[in-house]
């Protein structure tokens, strides 16, 4: 009956309210009966308060007209399925792991940029709690950190289905903790996470500035480590560089193994595309994979997005995925690439990154703080554009092509030996190609 009356009520409100107001706030509400009460269910407190302030009186008017008393109509925040496992003593139900079964080690494409992280995640999954603890995977967005996190979790869980493996995004940890504090269930919250055999938390940079969460996480962390339970974390940068994270927590992040995931190289990008296409039963032409992989360098999610768009457009236009078709569908993306990757823009981006002037890059000055960024800018220009060595030399204050060649070799060499330079280069490539 409540459902039927709510439908009638919606019909009135739809006539009375602006369609956006109605569609955004009112229509998605759920209704349920509890004894003789009609309860509207909102997804969060904000929506509840908004409805209570702007629309509840009117809703009560209508329900009154339909034979209810005004006091019988309420709005509350809908109960979420509890993420917290049942308390001890009750029958054990299948555990909510939060793991996505689509991500496994088997469908993770490896290359030079991620093989170390892949190997570390595999080792940890094979012997959780005993090899590297915690394992921290860090790198830019869309490079496969979350894939490895789920992959490790799924591996552990498959080997031992009774193991309590918990995957969650840092934001969920924060919001569950806030809810537990409000509902006075913080002890259950602590018990839930401290009893995990493997705790996998994504994007810990979002703990930044959240002191109470960090405090709780610190104790969870210690409890898990003490009892040799595995922790795997991901972060968008080197974890010790995240601002707003307490020093004691940052230092603990470094106790196990911290591994970077770099943007994939060309061959890996092609392999990823062909692999993803195969998963979807699409025979992707090599030329198309090369076209996308050549232009989209910054992250795997972009590659997937390009492929998703190609497949959808091909399906709905009935046209095969050829190189010209790909150029047409992805024109916006390819155009951006061409717009960003010019000698001038590379110089400007590198100068801004190292906080020097473009004129310094073009000058004759040879001090280290100028020479190294200049070499970086030359190497990036060679790598990302089609310009020849003499053209690049000319654009950098009329230098000889051998100077450019030397710069390219020097930067390649430093990338193998100096983590900082490697990271600078990865960040700059991302800035220029994102």
């Amino acid at each position: 009956m409540a459902q039927q009356h709510w439908e009638t009520c919606l019909k009135f409100l739809e006539k009375e309210l602006a369609s956006e107001e109605f569609n955004t706030w009112v229509r998605p509400l759920q209704v349920k009966s509890r004894k003789d009460q009609t309860v509207l269910s909102a997804p969060n407190e904000y929506v509840r308060d908004y409805i209570a302030l702007h629309h509840l009186e009117r809703i009560r008017d209508i329900f009154e007209h339909l034979g209810h008393s005004r006091e019988q109509v309420h709005i509350e925040v809908g109960s979420e399925e509890p993420a917290i496992a049942p308390v001890a003593g009750k029958a054990r139900q299948p555990l909510q792991t939060g793991l996505d079964p689509r991500y496994s080690f088997d469908n993770f494409v490896t290359g030079k940029s991620n093989e170390l992280a892949f190997a570390a995640a595999q080792q940890v999954a094979q012997k959780p709690g005993t090899t590297y603890n915690p394992l921290v995977l860090y790198g830019g967005t869309g490079l496969g950190k979350t894939h490895l996190l789920h992959g490790a979790g799924n591996f552990i869980h498959r080997r031992n289905p009774r193991a309590k493996v918990l995957y969650l995004h840092s934001e969920r940890f924060v919001s569950e903790m806030i809810q537990a504090l409000r509902r006075d269930t913080i002890e259950q919250f602590k018990q839930h996470y401290r009893s995990a055999e493997a705790l996998l938390i994504d994007d810990i940079q979002f703990f930044s500035g959240k002191d109470r969460t960090q405090e709780e996480f610190f104790h969870t962390f210690n409890a898990l480590l003490d009892s040799k339970q595995q922790i795997i974390l991901t972060c968008d940068r080197y974890p010790k560089e995240v601002k707003g994270i307490e020093a004691r927590l940052r230092s603990r992040f470094g106790w196990g193994l911290t591994v970077a995931i770099e943007p994939p190289d060309f061959e890996t990008r092609v392999a990823i595309l062909l692999n993803k296409a195969q998963e979807r039963d699409i025979a992707l032409d090599d030329a198309v994979a090369f076209l996308i992989a050549k232009r989209m360098r910054s992250n795997v999610r972009d590659l997937e997005g390009a492929l998703n768009s190609l497949i959808a457009h091909s399906r709905f236009t009935g046209r095969p995925i050829t190189e010209p078709f790909a150029k047409e569908v992805l024109r916006d993306l390819l155009m951006v690439h061409d717009r960003l990757i010019t000698i001038e823009n590379t110089q400007k981006t590198v100068a801004e990154y190292y906080k020097i002037r473009v004129s310094d890059l073009l000058s004759r000055r040879r001090s280290r703080n100028i020479a190294r960024p200049r070499q970086m800018a030359m190497a990036l220009t060679k790598e990302l554009t089609e310009h020849s060595l003499p053209e690049i030399g000319d654009a950098f204050g009329g230098r000889d092509h051998t100077t450019v060649l030397h710069a390219c070799r020097k930067i390649a060499e430093l990338c193998d030996t100096d983590g900082r330079i490697r990271e600078d280069k990865a960040k700059l490539v991302r800035l220029l190609t994102a």
């Binding site: 009135f12 739809e14 006539k15 009375e16 309210l17 602006a18 369609s19 956006e20 107001e21 569609n23 955004t24 229509r27 998605p28 759920q30 997804p43 969060n44 407190e45 904000y46 929506v47 908004y50 629309h55 009186e57 009117r58 008017d61 209508i62 007209h65 925040v77 809908g78 979420e80 939060g98 996505d100 830019g140 967005t141 869309g142 995004h169 934001e171 969920r172 919001s175 994007d203 979002f206 968008d236 992250n299 999610r301 972009d302 997937e304 997005g305 998703n308 768009s309 497949i311 959808a312 457009h313 399906r315 709905f316 236009t317 916006d332 993306l333 155009m335 951006v336 991302r430 994102a434």
Partner: protein
Amino acid sequence: MSLFSPQIPLQLHPRRPDRFEDYIPGPNLAAAAAVRDLCSQPGASLFVSGPASTGKTHLLNALCTETRGDGRMAWYIGLKRMDKSARAGLKGLKGLVCFDDLHAVAGDRDWEEALFHCFNEVLASEGQVAVASQQPLSAIDFALPDLASRMAWGVRVQLEPLPEADRLLVLRARAKSLDFELPEEVEQFLLRRISRDLGSLLGALEKLHRGALAGKRRVTVPLAREVLVAELGGEGAAQAD
């Protein structure tokens, strides 16, 4: 308060919920089909871009209508009209979540963070996210690279402006959804005299409709001249048609 005294009479007559069947695709037939396909893709996302008046809002609302028709939850969230406090309203959403006018909040780190978390939460629960913006993804200056990369994950659809013949069809369809016939001479008057973009035309149409209802008059060219003084640049009444 009586049942029949509307609280906020912003609309004299509600429009039917937007549906895919009522979308006039013009050059966007494949694009509209790609948007509709989101309904059958749990855990997927979509990014729709296109200039004003290409039907982005219609398509998002049509997605909502179709999803609700299947008995699932759907949220349409017009970011242009949301104030900062509404960020808290993005928590716990499930089902289909449509964000319109992304350009209105892009670059605002707090908003982007709220959208990012919402995106993760919805997709993790096998829901779907559809986002519309006037600018293509590549032209948006995101403050949070994580959000940019989430947005780039799904299918991207770019809508093209409608040619004049299709704009006329849209105008007629809108008149029909408001339950009135648009006489041919009024159509021609609107097309010739109002700014050619579809948004202005539809705005003029709705104003004309309100004028007709309020004055209990038929929709005619003289009524259009009277009601649309502002749209005609103040010279509508004086200038011979």
